[in-house]
Each structure stands twice: as structure tokens, then as C-alpha cells.
């Protein structure tokens, strides 16, 4: 599939990667899809963060690669070939170990890809390594222990220990009593950043928004009656201190600001996550208590800026009207996505969101999409904070758009399932 390339041209990054990937052969098949391309998660979890690193190597970023960097990109992939082949071999072993251990929870690609890359660097290729199978079994057991039941159980025991409860309740009360009233600022630059974040993200502007405390300032209005309620962040007239909580379940989590401290941490544990980058349980609980009393109930200024950006980018978005007057480029792009969604609903012959069968809450969320949007954006940012993942300027649009897409796909699934409960053939 080698391509000839004219001088001065730019080449699609996907084509270069596909080409370089094909040269690696069958050894990387476990990391490839049926078309022989690297899996979406191979790109997301291995090639981008560990091999090409477009953040550090801007020449490897974007959809098109300058012709002068083509060979270098090819070389970067082919140099990583042995490590990727070993990663693939470890992945195969881990899947076998997982099957033997009867583990079914979670997406193995999310859980093991980066672990396998580490194993590849530590041990090389597992072929001929005498204890490869036991290493694989241990890794599967480790990953399992870090997420899910074991961690949630430790969290529950810590938070229901009578001595701790008294101390933590005191901390929570103090944190909320000491809340500083944030001051609004007149000129804030959010719209300017929203105009460029999808196309030419301005790192300087992004840093300035955080440095000037714009996210915090924009939280000032949340304590006014109905503001946080209208954003879907609470069911209360205005935010009230959360309780510590002693139980949590994946289903029917309340809106973010109404979640107990336990529920907030639980939700983050059960999402795809990397426990090794998180703090120990007592510090996480204390951290969560302080976070709950902070602006937007988030602890990092960039997260708060992202909430303010998400609020502005999602405001006025309507299911029925096409793209009309937009407040920023990002706002226009989200509105355009919602207009496409209405078309996709028609093409997929989905039930009309206003038909009799659609439950009120789903109807409400479709017509007032900013509410589920801000709830999910908050949960994403909260998870990023717990994992200590920073957000760079060029990741903001991916985040704002990705959250919207995920809200819409969930709505679509819910609409689709409505008619199937009635003895559908599916």
C-alpha cells in the first residue's frame, strides 16, 4: 500500500499510520481491527500518548502531515514495532488470563493496553519468558483489585467507620462554612476562546482564563436561586452541602451537586479509570469534601473554566430549529451537531421525541439538552481531576464536543429501546 507523494503536499495522518502499521505485519494483529487498521483505542491509548505524542511533537498532530515529516512519522511507528508487537503478545496473554479468571467486567482494551505496553518494556516479548503466564494472571488480578468491588468496599468501610464519620462530617461542615463568595468579573474572554478552540486552540488564552480565575468567577451565579437548577446540576433551588453518604449505586445517580461524597467517588471508580494515578482512599475522601465546597464543586481552575465554557457552548441549543444565530464558533458547532442528530433520527426511523411513549424525563432532556450536557461534562471533569489528568488547550474542544456526542448517543439508545419492550422482535 506504499504511496507516492508529491513534494510540498501534505499527507493524511490516517493514511501514513495505516501504511506504517501494515508494515508491522501480523505481530500487531491483536491491536488491529478487521480492516487491518490500528484499533481506535490503539491510537488513543498507545500510538498517540506513547509513540507519536502529538502534544510534544506538533508535526505529528492534525489530520494532515507535512511531507517533510512523513518519513519521520513512519520511522517513529516502525521503531516502536518491536515494543508494539510485544504489547500485542502480552494483550493476547492477558485476555487468556482474564478468561481463566472468569473476569468479564470492563473493556479489556481500556483496562490492559497501557499495562501491556509497560510489560513489553519491562519484560520484552512474552514468548519464551518462563513466568509470562503468571505475570499475566497477576496483572489481571491487579487491575481487577484496583477497580470495582475491592476499592468500593474499602471506600465504604472507611466512610462508615464511626470514628471517621464524625471527623469527616466536621470537615464537610467547615469546608462549606468557609466557602468564599466568588466575585464576578465583567470581561472574561470565554467567547474569544470558544471561537478558536475547535480550529486554532490558543494555549495562551486558555492559560490566561485559568490564571485570571475566570472559572471561579463564573461560578458566582450558581448560588442564586434556580441557576444551578436550570443547568441541571442540582434538583434543589440552590446548591446545598452534600451528605457523606453510606451507599451508592450505578443506576439513578442524582444530579452532580446532590450526590453524596460517597456517590461522587463511587461514580469515578466504576468509570474507566486508572487507579494507580489516584490518591489513597482517606486523602481522596478529604479531597472530595473540599472539592464539594469549591466553585463548580471542582478543585482545579481549568476544570471550572471548562464548565463555564461548556455552559456557554451549549446555551440556546434547540432540537427543532436549525443553526441560527450562534454565540460562538463552538456554540454553532454544537448546534450543528444537534441539527444533524435530528436528521439522523429521521434516517434511523426513531420515535418522535414528542410521541406518547417517550417518558417525560427523556423528553425534557432532549428539549433541554444543556442539562444532561452539563451533568456529563461535570462528571468527565471530575474524573479527570481524580486521575490527575491535566487539560491542555487543544483538548478542550474534544472534551466539549465528545461530551455532547456521548449525551446524544445515549438519548438515541433510550429512544430506540422504547418500542422494543413491547414484544419487539429484536
Amino acid at each position: 500500500m506504499a504511496q507516492t507523494i508529491a513534494a510540498g503536499a501534505a499527507v493524511p495522518r490516517g493514511m501514513l499510520i495505516a501504511d506504517a502499521w501494515a508494515q508491522l505485519g501480523d505481530a500487531v494483529a491483536p491491536l488491529s481491527n478487521a480492516s487491518g487498521r490500528p484499533l481506535a483505542r490503539t491510537v488513543k491509548l498507545l500510538l498517540d500518548p506513547l509513540v507519536l505524542r502529538p502534544n510534544l511533537n506538533p508535526r505529528f498532530a492534525g489530520g494532515l502531515i507535512g511531507v517533510e515529516h512523513v518519513d519521520e512519522l513512519r520511522r517513529a511507528v516502525s521503531d516502536a514495532g518491536p515494543a508494539l508487537a510485544a504489547t500485542a503478545a502480552w494483550f493476547r496473554l492477558l485476555k487468556q488470563a482474564r478468561r481463566r479468571a472468569g473476569v468479564t467486567e470492563g473493556n479489556p482494551q481500556d483496562l490492559y493496553f497501557q499495562r501491556c505496553f509497560e510489560l513489553a518494556h519491562e519484560h520484552g516479548d512474552p514468548h519464551g519468558l518462563p513466568d509470562a503466564e503468571s505475570i499475566a494472571a497477576e496483572t489481571v488480578a491487579d487491575v481487577r483489585a484496583e477497580r470495582g468491588e475491592v476499592t468500593v468496599d474499602r471506600l465504604r468501610r472507611f466512610m462508615t467507620d464511626p470514628d471517621q464519620v464524625v471527623r469527616l462530617a466536621g470537615l464537610l461542615q467547615n469546608a462549606w462554612e468557609d466557602r468564599a463568595a466568588p466575585q464576578p468579573v465583567p470581561q472574561d474572554g470565554l467567547a474569544a476562546f470558544l471561537d478558536v478552540c475547535a480550529t486554532r486552540p490558543d494555549e495562551r488564552l486558555w492559560k490566561a482564563l485559568a490564571a485570571n480565575g475566570i472559572g471561579t468567577a463564573e461560578a458566582a451565579e450558581l448560588d442564586k436561586p434556580r441557576v444551578a437548577l436550570d443547568y441541571g446540576l442540582t434538583a434543589e433551588e440552590r446548591p446545598i452541602p452534600p451528605v457523606l453518604g453510606d451507599r451508592a449505586s450505578k443506576r439513578q445517580l442524582p444530579p452532580p451537586f446532590d450526590r453524596s461524597i460517597m456517590e461522587r467517588l463511587f461514580a469515578a471508580f466504576t468509570a474507566a479509570f486508572h487507579r494507580e494515578s489516584m490518591a489513597d482512599i482517606p486523602s481522596m475522601v478529604v479531597g472530595e469534601i473540599h472539592r464539594s465546597a469549591a466553585a463548580w464543586q471542582l478543585s482545579e481552575e481549568p476544570s471550572r473554566v471548562a464548565m463555564a465554557l461548556g455552559r456557554d457552548a451549549s446555551s440556546g441549543i434547540d432540537y427543532w430549529t436549525g443553526p441560527g444565530r450562534t454565540r460562538s464558533d463552538a456554540n454553532g458547532r454544537l448546534q450543528a451537531r444537534y441539527s444533524r442528530e435530528a436528521y439522523v433520527h429521521a434516517v434511523l426511523r426513531q420515535p418522535d421525541p414528542e410521541s406518547a411513549k417517550v417518558p417525560e424525563d427523556l423528553k425534557w432532556e432532549i428539549m433541554n439538552v444543556q442539562e444532561p450536557y452539563l451533568r456529563r461534562l461535570w462528571a468527565r471533569l471530575h474524573g479527570r481531576e481524580l486521575r490527575g489528568e491535566p487539560t491542555a488547550a487543544d483538548q478542550v474542544w474534544d472534551l466539549l464536543d465528545g461530551v455532547f456526542r456521548s449525551v446524544l448517543l445515549d438519548q438515541r439508545d433510550r429512544l430506540r429501546r422504547l418500542l422494543e419492550r413491547d414484544g419487539g422482535r429484536a
Binding site: 480492516s35 489530520g63 444533524r340 436528521y343 411513549k357 448517543l409 418500542l419
Partner: protein, 359 residues
């Protein structure tokens, strides 16, 4: 060779096989919104940065595209149109032509077609188009999704598709059609993505392919009667016979005037209620398995008799599915007959989907 016009409007790049509105001045036509096919004919794949759609009646191997983010689409556009045409699209050409073939293009098109069939397959007793097995359609869709997951606008597309696939339907498939290949592929995918495959009880086919009973039953004292096609967009797939129309009769009985409405059901129809609306009267229609039709009757005001014919138009919809919008006049949907013909062709086409060939 497929030829396309390329134009840029409202921040989008449109790759279109049909010239929009030839009677308009070029500078006006240039500014028109995307020229999308009717939803009933649209096979759609949602890619990163672009919608790709095929008009199933065109039978073109290459889709039209609405590119809303060129940087994202650049990554994979060459797999659909070929490197040269993709390069031309991204570098402001106003037309392209391509003969590109690739397994990725094929998988994207098959996936789009499977989603079309799930939504619009015109199952009908009257036209002898059998119902498709939805579980099998979705099982194949999961398989095709995995082949194009790198270009889809959904990071969880494979998990989503697997979660709704029905492994039993794949296992029950005729081995000659490739049951073992499909089943093995699904099991591998389920393991790779950590999804537990669903297994539904096998649905027994009770169809005997007699034409629907009912139709023009003689009714005493029929004062007026009429019929109308059912708008597909107002009912879910697989409920109403896609080729037959709804019929109404107004009869004089002892108690007064009665209106009766009958709508032939699709093969293997589900028991979902319909609503009929005519001249201001609304009545529920219920599936009668005996006659294989939805029917209902209610008292009608005398005024119904006096209404002019154009205001006595029968409109049928599923209230659980639509709000009964009457904007589309199904009598003005000539493509429906073509879609039924297209479906008939697919039943014997060796390149069709597994569900179509198995039906």
C-alpha cells in the same frame, strides 16, 4: 466511475453526486443546504467529521459526504474515495471522480445498508417481502462496525453494536450463509471489547405466506368508503404492510353512523396500537391476528358524510412513535414503489446482507 460535485457552504464541505436544483442560478444553488436523499432511501454512516450517505435507490458504490470537520475527516477520507479524490476534496477542487474500491469502503457501505434495512425494510404480505430477522441484522452490523470502528464518530460504537446484537440469531443462521464465520467473529469481538453477548430465545417463524385475509369485505349499508397509503415515517418499521394501504368504510347501523378502519399488518407484526384520524374523528386500531390487520371502529358524526372528499382523508400513525404529523402526503412518495422493488432484488442478491439472504 462515480462523479461528484464538491462545494463549500456554511462551514461544510459537501461531496454530492447529484446537481442540486438545475433550474436555479449557479450562485444560488451553490448556497443551498446539503442535498440529502429522503430518509426512507438513506443508508447512513456517521464518520468522524462527516456524515456519509448512500441513496439505496442509486446503487452507487461511493457515498455523498457532508464534511463538517476537514481535519478529522482527512484521517480516513482516502479510504472512502481513494487518496487522489480525497486530496482533491480537501484542496478545494469543485469536482472529483473515483473508482476506488477498498474493504473499508465496502464495510462502511454494508454497515449503512444494514441500518437502513433495520429502519425501512418494506416487509409486506401484499408485495411478498418477508420480514427480516432484526437480531441477525444487528449481529452483522456489529461485525461490520468493528471493521470501520477507526473512522466512526463514536468511541464506543462496537460495544454499543455488540450489546444489541443477538447471538442466537447468528447461531441459527443457515451454515451455508456463513453462520460459523459470523458467530466466531462476534465471539472474538465480545471478548476483545468485554461485552456479554445477548442470547434471546429463537423466534419461530409462523408465516405461511398466504396473502393477508380481509380487504374488501362486503359491508351492509356502506355509505362511503375510501383508502389511503400509510406514511412510513408515522409508524415504526415492521408494523404496517409496506405495500398495502389503509381502508375506511362509513356504515349506517341502528345506533347511527359507524366508521371502520382497517390497516393490513406487516409479516410478523408487533402488537403495538395505531391511531386512525379522519375528518376530525380519531379511533384506536388494534392488531387482529386472525385477519392480520389492525382494525377499529367508532361512532361517527353525521357531518362526516357531508365533508368534501379532500377533507375526508384517512391518516394513520402509531401514537407511541409519532405525534401524527400530517405534513408528508404519502401519495407523493413515488420512491416507495422503487424501494419495494429494491428489497425484492436484495432477497436474491448474493452480495446482500445475511438477514436479507436468510429471509
Amino acid at each position: 466511475m462515480t462523479a461528484f460535485q464538491v462545494r463549500r457552504v456554511r462551514g461544510m464541505t459537501l461531496v454530492e453526486s447529484r446537481r442540486p436544483r438545475p433550474h436555479l442560478a449557479p450562485e444560488v444553488a451553490q448556497q443551498l443546504p446539503p442535498h440529502r436523499p429522503h430518509p426512507e432511501c438513506t443508508a447512513l454512516t456517521e464518520a468522524r467529521g462527516a456524515l456519509l450517505y448512500w441513496d439505496v435507490l442509486d446503487r452507487s458504490p461511493h457515498p455523498d459526504a457532508e464534511i463538517h470537520d476537514e481535519a478529522l475527516a482527512a484521517d480516513w477520507l482516502w479510504e472512502i474515495y481513494g487518496p487522489d479524490a480525497a486530496d482533491a476534496i480537501l484542496h478545494a477542487s469543485d469536482s472529483i471522480a473515483t473508482e476506488w474500491e477498498s474493504p473499508v469502503l465496502d464495510a462502511a457501505r454494508r454497515l449503512a445498508h444494514l441500518r437502513w434495512a433495520e429502519a425501512w425494510w418494506p416487509s409486506s404480505h401484499a408485495a411478498a417481502i418477508p420480514a427480516l430477522d432484526t437480531g441477525l441484522l444487528r449481529a452483522e452490523a456489529a461485525w461490520r462496525t468493528a471493521a470501520v470502528e477507526h473512522l466512526l464518530d463514536d468511541e464506543e460504537a462496537v460495544e454499543r453494536a455488540l450489546a444489541e446484537a443477538d447471538a442466537t440469531a447468528a447461531e441459527a443462521l443457515d451454515p451455508a450463509l456463513g453462520a460459523s464465520e459470523l458467530t466466531a467473529a462476534l465471539e472474538d469481538l465480545a471478548e476483545d471489547y468485554g461485552v456479554a453477548l445477548r442470547r434471546e430465545p429463537v423466534h419461530l417463524r409462523q408465516e405461511d405466506w398466504a396473502l393477508a385475509a380481509g380487504g374488501d369485505r362486503a359491508v351492509d349499508f356502506a355509505l362511503a368508503s375510501g383508502g389511503a397509503p400509510v406514511d412510513w415515517t408515522q409508524v415504526p418499521q415492521g408494523l404496517v404492510d409496506a405495500a398495502a394501504g389503509a381502508a375506511w368504510t362509513l356504515t349506517q347501523r341502528e345506533g347511527g353512523l359507524t366508521i371502520t378502519v382497517t390497516v393490513p399488518a406487516a409479516p410478523e407484526a408487533r402488537d403495538l396500537h395505531l391511531t386512525a384520524r379522519i375528518g376530525g374523528v380519531e379511533l384506536p386500531l388494534i392488531l387482529d391476528p386472525e385477519t392480520r390487520s389492525y382494525s377499529g371502529e367508532t361512532e361517527a358524526p353525521q357531518a362526516l358524510l357531508l365533508l368534501p372528499a379532500d377533507r375526508r382523508v384517512l391518516h394513520v400513525f402509531a401514537p407511541d412513535f409519532s405525534v401524527g404529523d400530517e405534513r408528508n402526503d404519502p401519495r407523493r412518495s413515488p420512491h416507495r414503489a422503487e424501494i419495494i422493488e429494491f428489497a425484492r432484488e436484495r432477497l436474491t442478491d448474493p452480495a446482500a446482507s445475511l438477514a436479507e439472504r436468510a429471509a
